[in-house]
Amino acid sequence: MSNTILQIDNVSRVFPGVRGGAPVRALEPTNLQVGQNDFITILGPSGCGKSTLLRIVAGLDRPSNGRVLLNGREIKGPGADRGMVFQSYTLFPWLTIAENIAYGLREKGVPKAQRQEIVASYTEKVGLRGFENHYPKQLSGGMQQRTAIARALANDPEILLLDEPFGALDNQTRGLMQELLLGIWERERKTVLFVTHDIEEAIFLASRVIVMSARPGRIKADIPVDLPHPRHYRMKTTPEFSALKAQLTEEIRVEAMQAEGVH
């Protein structure tokens, strides 16, 4: 791959044991290359180290070994070049929706007029016009996560990292959010790394699904998704989609059983 934007080199993570316990190997040495404009979903059962991997890419956690390169530069800590959307609602409760979206721009020192322009465009893109002056508390979970996506994108990061962003939403809202995110990606072609434990979500969004194994986490399968774009929710019922879903369900089931100690 010549247009690699993100390179994960032999990254592993061992958490020290708690109160004299044995250290926990959360992530086995892992290699992954992410191409420009890829939409990669990382799929795995809980405790497979997929969030740990994402947090290492974000710079919020340090690898015990190995390194992560973004455009050839080694990642040392968090930064505005990697936008992150968390599973928990992390909008700043004291800022309005517009101020939340503008947060990164303000930190960067973007002049006010330009800031307002960018905020307006992203408010539009995530369908939150009319809510600019609301506080996060006044919005539903789905709207808050849409704001979080807008806040990350307004910063124009080189890669967007999402850690089960729709995990806390109900099924219907989740479906809508997937379409919204995919729509944005189809238009802007931002490189995306998306962590989820939802198989359908992983296939629907991705150009590549990375399946991770149960603890200690490592990459088990790397499956390209060649479904055409633009994708529509009805795609979830096509035979091609179902075949992929069946294949991934098998892969994940074994891991989930291992993780739960079922044989």
Partner: protein, 258 residues
């Protein structure tokens, strides 16, 4: 019977709140006017009001109230101005906390009232001594409580700020401080209440003005009506300052109520 945790209407809340005051005064009136308690030990409500009126009109008690309020506010503002920044620093920077926390925790238990004789020695019996008593009584409490509040800031908010490009300083200024501002205001409201205890103690000893001084003067005259009036005035001022604090907090932090 109401259910546990079942809310009451605003009207019922006010009525219930007032009715206990009424009940309290009624019981007091019954005990004193009914002749069950000697007048020497406890004045009845009517005498108390008459004494209070006399205090206000004849003996310039308003001046005493003013000087006491000024002392509380002065000492408290001084304490807050030093303690809030220190508390924020301790909450934000763990090495700073490790450096100061043990001493502050120790100092917090030093009773402010025990410093009164020492402070008279150091600062005389002027205003400075009164302010210092309140300062000592408030400053360590505020430091510790603010440090704990800031230290408990939601980690995911801090992480979100970092991924949006905040510097370490940016996180302190634009996440830790605004996230905890309402709680810091609440801490100040609480400690201001304690400061009232210290000011009276400071005024009981070596003072020639203030509500506390009036109370100790009245004791010599066995004027229980005046003493009770003084105590009630403190309660009323406390209630008013509490109300003001809450009103200010509501306008400063609308996002809390949103």
């Amino acid at each position: 019977m109401p259910r546990p945790l079942e809310p009451v209407s605003q009207g019922a809340r006010v009525t219930l709140g007032i009715s206990f005051f009424v009940l309290f005064v009624a019981a007091w009136a019954f005990a004193t006017l009914g002749g069950f308690v000697s007048r020497t030990f406890l004045a009845d409500p009517i005498t108390m009001l008459q004494d209070g009126w006399l205090l206000l009109t004849r003996f310039g008690f308003l001046g005493d109230i003013g000087i006491t309020v000024w002392r509380v506010v002065g000492g408290f503002v001084l304490a807050a101005a030093i303690a809030v920044p220190l508390g924020i620093m301790m909450g934000a920077y763990k090495s700073f906390e490790a450096f100061l926390e043990p001493f502050v925790s120790f100092a917090r238990y030093l009773p402010a009232s025990a410093f009164v004789p020492l402070l008279i020695l150091w600062a005389g019996i002027g205003e400075m001594q009164k302010l210092l008593v309140i300062f000592i009584g408030s400053v360590f409490q505020i430091i510790l409580m603010v440090a704990v509040a800031v230290g408990n800031t939601r980690r995911d908010l801090v992480e979100a700020a970092y991924t949006l490009g905040s510097s370490d300083q940016g996180v302190v200024k634009r996440v830790l401080i605004p996230a905890n501002a309402p709680e810091i205001a609440e801490i100040l409201r609480l400690v201001l209440g304690w400061a009232w205890t210290y000011v009276i103690v400071a005024e009981l000893i070596g003072s020639s003005s203030g509500i506390g001084h009036m109370i100790i003067d009245s004791q010599a005259l066995l004027a229980t009506g005046q003493m009770i009036f003084g105590i009630i005035i403190i309660g009323i001022i406390g209630l008013i300052s509490d109300f003001l604090f809450k009103a200010v907090n509501r306008t400063l932090f609308p996002w809390r109520l949103a």
